[in-house]
């Protein structure tokens, strides 16, 4: 299974895959899924805070994207477009969750608002910390680390220049380091 791939010559571009998809080559969508699903799950995780819901939301995002492919103006920007759909779906999910929380509060306050038990593992904690970063910085981390620490496709998905992308990435890493230090100090 591949994660986000760089623009290698042997790798079909998003545009090529979308063209193939319109020529009834459904397998092209599998390739697009392989390329972007981890990123979409990461974007959804920022909202859901748990992997299971993030996976469900990501599936929904890919269903919607498939139905709305005709609206995609520039196949080269498929990644950016998909992230936009994911954000929209996350906002809807949030609204639904709030509505159901409000309903549940009347029935069983304690059950509805009880936080999930915290996962103390270091990596899990790091993932949670990422969700507290500003959206742009989160996306920079997602795109960079999901494509094998390469900025090639990442900066295009974010619609930034390469240097602009590195600036955001660096800011995100610094902020994350500060959060880790602050947490360590609190533990001590």
């Amino acid at each position: 299974m591949s994660i986000l791939e760089g623009p290698e010559l042997t790798t079909p571009s998003d545009k090529t895959l979308i063209r193939a998809l319109f020529a009834s080559d459904k397998a092209a969508y599998e390739k697009l899924y392989d390329r972007y699903a981890p990123l979409v799950r990461a974007v959804c995780y920022d909202t859901t805070g748990n992997l299971a819901d993030a996976q469900d939301l990501a599936q929904d995002v890919f269903m919607r994207a498939y139905e709305k492919l005709g609206h995609l103006r520039d196949p080269d920007r498929f990644g950016k477009w998909l992230v936009g759909i994911a954000r929209l779906r996350c906002r809807e999910w949030n609204r639904q969750r709030l509505r159901s929380q409000n309903k549940n509060i009347g029935l069983n306050d304690a059950q509805a608002v009880a936080p999930e038990p915290p996962d103390e593992s270091r990596i899990e904690r790091l993932r949670e910390m990422i969700t507290t970063l500003p959206e742009k910085e989160r996306l920079a981390l997602h795109t960079f680390y999901l494509q094998g620490n390469s900025a090639e496709a990442a900066h295009r998905i974010m619609g930034l220049s390469r240097s602009g992308f590195y600036r955001v990435l660096e800011r995100a890493r610094k902020r994350l380091e500060q959060l880790l230090i602050a947490e360590q100090e609190n533990i001590r």
Partner: protein
């Protein structure tokens, strides 16, 4: 060199690959079959690009889309031969669409015969196809300039006897305008009419007499239209597309009254012109009345 943080981040992101194969299979099994309708929708989208500024930012009505589809199918049949299948036409056009995405600006000149008027429209597009600046000019009549979120609308007033501008009666309205919608262009207007009125479209290949280029001529006929409050007649529009780029380059509209063709309006379209640097700039003429409708502006 990777830092410990990099290593931790890589591990953190591995979680997003969990169950990937299973999830992919589930998704692929639940995807709907792309129906013929979807193919048509795709074609309509391609066509919105095909006529670029004329429909791109406008919510194209289903009827208009259907009419544009007819044009496209005709163009497709003549250009690429044979099939009426929407997908094949869409694919045939795709290479042309690709080129159109790089249109940076559009210039349209519209001349009406009765009353005699001339309007010029310049629209500049961003890389992602949004209209970002526009100038509409009817010499001596009106000038509208939109750029950087502000729209200026200058209406000069004239002294009937001397034909000179009366500054104190002339106005400049200033409005905030965050987004710039493309108004329906002539091609879309005609497409809507065809769909609503049930017109006839014919296409043929021709060599342009002006420059020897291959063009596609689409002739649209609308029967029994109300030309004047008390008069019915036919309307005929001739839209000429560049056979190579598929861009509309000229259009003419005729009214047919008592068997006679009367030219009513001419349109010329050009793309990617070298625009003057100050084309989308506006300086308020001295002494005119300024109506600033922006928040906190002077009315």
């Amino acid at each position: 060199m990777k830092t410990p943080l990099d290593n931790d981040l890589n591990k953190a992101y591995e979680a997003f690959n969990q169950d990937h194969d299973h999830l992919r299979k589930t998704l692929m099994a639940s995807l709907p079959v792309r129906s013929e309708q979807r193919k048509c929708n795709r074609l309509i989208n391609l066509l919105q690009l095909f006529i670029r500024g004329d429909t791109m930012k406008v919510r194209i009505t289903k009827l208009a889309a259907a009419a544009v589809l007819i044009i496209a199918v005709f163009v497709g049949i003549h250009q690429f031969g044979g099939s009426l299948d929407g997908t094949s036409v869409a694919f045939a056009l795709e290479h042309a669409v690709e080129a159109l995405k790089h249109v940076e600006n559009k210039h349209m000149v519209m001349r009406t015969i009765e009353p005699p008027n001339r309007y010029e429209f310049w629209t500049k597009y961003s890389e992602d196809g949004r209209a970002i600046a526009r100038r509409i000019e009817s010499p001596g009549e009106r000038l509208m300039v939109f750029a950087d979120g502000v729209m200026y609308d200058y209406k000069p007033a004239y002294d009937r006897n001397t034909d000179r501008i009366v500054k104190e009666d002339s106005t400049v309205s200033i409005r905030s305008k965050k987004t710039l919608n493309d108004p329906p262009g002539y091609v879309e207007h005609m497409a809507t009419k065809v769909a609503e009125e049930g017109g006839v479209i014919k296409t043929k290949f021709k060599t342009d007499e002006e420059n020897g280029k291959k063009v596609i001529v689409a002739t649209i006929t609308l029967k029994d239209m109300r030309l004047k409050p008390d008069k019915l007649g036919d309307v005929e529009a001739e839209i000429i597309f560049d056979a190579e780029t598929k861009l509309p380059i000229r259009a003419r509209e005729y009214h047919i009254e008592n068997g006679q063709n009367k030219l009513k309006a001419c349109y010329e379209f050009s793309y990617n012109e070298k625009l003057a640097e100050d084309l989308f700039k506006f300086e308020i003429p001295e002494g005119v009345k300024v109506i600033d409708q922006r928040k906190g502006g002077i009315r």
